[in-house]
């Protein structure tokens, strides 16, 4: 699960979800359980081509002979002897019983069957879904379904969840085993010997020629070619995000706001008499731009002007662009390769390479990034990764606003913000590594094969993430702008600003007004950056303020997740580090520039 909008389903199972009258989807990581789940229940999930997308369990329902039965998507697990937190979750869910649907990767039968046999030992009612069957055929892997079913003593159905093949048969098989008596537990002496024996009886491999996929796979995984390839992929992704984001702003959102929305707002302004409390709240104040007194979407600070423009006009295009590019990288299966390439670098920060994936998710929104740290092996790694994400990883909203604010002065200033953040990151990571001495487990990671992404899956995933942004973020921005408008009139801001002005000036060399923006950043980072726009600061001061906004505190949503995932004590520790980091960074920047 890597999406803010589906956090609600990731907590505890409903009471109805316990007991034997339920369906459990169990299988190795990255075999397509989430796609099967989504197909069976119609509940949208985020699935990707790398292990560990589902780190908690999702619950949906399926109709079995007219009866609604809960379906649980259990996190991917290689074995029933847990080796990581996700596997512990899986074991706990299985202990309560249910009808097991074991999703098996047909291209990789040998490794997958180890879990199948362990499950069979439990003697629960069970169906094996031989998934990715189309890819197996394509690769010349032939499986004798009847023989496999006979050896395992449970029904085996060939499926391709992405295309929908075999899912009807799967449901029929589930209905069948639900009413049949539970099968006898399968006994075996040596797990791997039994797996080997089954595989030799049911699998036939056809010789196949090297394909373009094999070539690209070799290129991206060998050090000599993989590193340049990785740099190229990262640069191309950044360029693509910028290009898509800017194009949506220039050709869609800006024209919509200027030609369709401006007349509406102007009419509203006139109807409200051009001033007054309600006018300032909804429309905001008139500002002088290019010598003309007008409503300015980024500076007027009204709910219907700046509020809507920040969330839909400035930030949403980059949210779309970021998740479109991320979705392609995820589904193609590139991210684990990046994790391998960066493993050496990440070790210097007390993490191992796989932490790259939560961090990259954090660039979209810190909340799913922090949740995704669950794939990491030890509490220490999880804490370091979550702290680094909340301090040094600007989310898409913040990045979009920084781009809008600084790009007009030159891309160099935008690059400077990232460069400073990178320095903060390495210094903080090194400190964290040195201070929290603990055993760092080494990487054991399967690199999934490249897969051609399905456009409909990509579109569905993008839509789910965008919906999450619209539902979670947009109302907060609108309310935030309204609060700023009201407080602005009360004069509270001025007194707060006056109180901390000397500190801001002497320590960080920033004008006192920026203090308000940084305090408001706790609410939402994008409105805070929006507040910097009307101040007319020189570009270097904007760079400083942007970095301060990024490092000070994560927004309130990320904070809630930190608290839930790590508890009060560790969150307090992280908070201390945030305060120290922002002070140190502010002072250092003031001395440097």
């Amino acid at each position: 699960m890597s999406d803010a909008s589906c956090c609600a389903t990731g907590g505890e199972l409903s009471t109805e979800g316990r007991g034997s009258r339920r369906v459990l989807l169990v299988g190795n990581p990255n075999v397509g359980k989430s796609v099967v789940f989504s197909r069976l229940t119609g509940v949208g999930t985020v699935s990707s081509n790398y292990p560990g997308t589902t780190v908690s369990f999702l619950e949906g329902r399926i109709r079995l002979k007219g009866e609604q039965v809960p379906v649980i998507d259990v996190p991917g697990s290689y074995s029933l002897e847990p080796t990581c937190p996700a596997e512990e979750v899986a074991c706990r869910v299985l202990d309560d019983g249910g009808i097991v649907v074991n999703v098996v990767d047909a291209t990789n039968l040998e490794r997958n069957l180890a879990l199948t046999l362990q499950l069979r030992k439990m003697g629960l009612p069970m169906v094996v879904a031989l998934n990715l069957i189309d890819e197996a055929r394509h690769r010349g892997v032939h499986v004798d379904l009847a023989r496999l079913s006979e050896l395992l003593g449970v029904p085996v159905v060939a499926t391709s969840a992405v295309s929908g093949e075999g899912l009807k048969e799967l449901v029929e098989a589930i209905e069948h085993v639900a009413d049949a008596p539970a099968p006898q537990p399968l006994e075996f002496e040596d797990l791997w010997a039994s797996v080997g024996a089954i595989v030799t009886q049911v699998q036939r491999l056809e010789h196949r020629h090297h394909t373009w996929r094999d070539v690209v796979e070799e290129i991206s995984i060998r050090p000599a070619t993989g590193i340049p390839f990785g740099i190229l992929v990262v640069l191309a992704s950044f360029a693509a995000v910028r290009f898509i984001g800017e194009s949506i702003i220039a050709y869609v959102m800006d024209p919509l706001f200027e030609h369709l929305w401006r007349p509406v707002v102007e009419a509203l302004s006139a109807a409200l008499g051009g001033g007054g409390v309600l006018h300032d709240l909804l429309v905001g104040s008139y500002v002088v731009v290019d010598g003309v007194r007008q409503i300015d979407f980024s500076q007027s600070l009204g709910v219907l002007t700046t509020g809507l423009y920040v969330s839909l006009g400035a930030v949403m295009p980059y949210v779309i662009a970021f998740y479109a590019v991320l979705g392609v990288l995820e589904d193609v299966g590139y991210l684990p390769r990046l994790a391998v390439l960066l493993d050496g670098v990440m070790h210097r920060l007390g993490l191992h390479g796989y932490a790259v994936i939560p961090i990259i998710l954090g660039f979209g929104c810190n909340v799913p990034g922090i949740l995704a740290t669950r794939v990491l092996d030890t509490p220490r790694e999880r804490f370091i990764a979550a702290t680094l994400i909340s301090i040094g990883v600007p989310c898409a909203s913040l990045q979009a606003m920084i781009m809008a604010l600084l790009a007009p002065f030159g891309v160099g200033y935008v690059a400077l913000v990232y460069a400073v953040l990178a320095v903060v990151w390495f210094v903080l990571g090194t400190i964290l590594r040195l201070t929290s001495k603990d055993f760092l487990p080494e990487m054991v990671l399967e690199i999934p094969p490249y897969r051609l992404p399905s456009w409909s899956t990509l579109a569905k995933k993008l839509w789910m993430r965008l919906k999450g942004y619209l539902i979670d973020a947009t109302p907060v921005v609108l309310v935030g702008v309204a609060v700023i408008g009201i407080v602005n009139r009360s004069g509270v801001f001025e007194s707060v600003a006056d109180a901390i002005a000397p500190a801001m000036r002497t320590l960080f060399g920033l004008p006192p007004e920026t203090a308000l923006a940084i305090v408001l950043g706790f609410f939402r980072k994008d409105i805070a950056v929006g507040m910097l726009a009307p101040l007319g600061l020189p570009p270097l001061a904007l760079v400083k303020a942007s970095v301060m906004l990024a490092v000070t505190f994560p927004c309130v949503a990320s904070y809630t997740v930190l608290l839930r995932e790590f508890g009060a004590k560790k969150t307090a520790l992280a908070t201390g580090m945030m305060v120290a980091t922002s002070l140190a960074t502010g002072i250092a920047m003031n001395l440097a520039f």
Partner: protein, 83 residues
């Protein structure tokens, strides 16, 4: 495994260390008797890349050093000398 040359096929002989490590590697299909091919080592004390039955796996160096392998060339030599 760390000393194996790139692209050199070999057979896994033994996995040293605890049961836990052996179980984790088994989960990925790396077990004694399996033929593997080393693809290379990432710089900066990065992981060793291995191909095992068409599955590509990244192993940290410490872990890789616990996997004892026999290069296929040696195995063939040994067979020949026995004959």
């Amino acid at each position: 495994m760390c000393m194996l040359a790139d692209d050199e096929p070999a057979t896994v002989v033994q996995i040293e260390g605890g049961r836990h490590l052996a179980a984790r590697l088994h989960n990925l299909g790396i077990l004694p008797g399996k033929r593997i091919r080393k693809l290379g080592t990432m710089p900066g004390s990065g992981p060793v890349m291995v191909d095992c039955d068409g599955v590509r796996v990244a192993l940290g160096r410490g872990i890789a050093s616990h996997v004892l392998v026999q290069p296929s060339r040696d195995a063939r030599d040994a067979e020949e000398s026995q004959q």
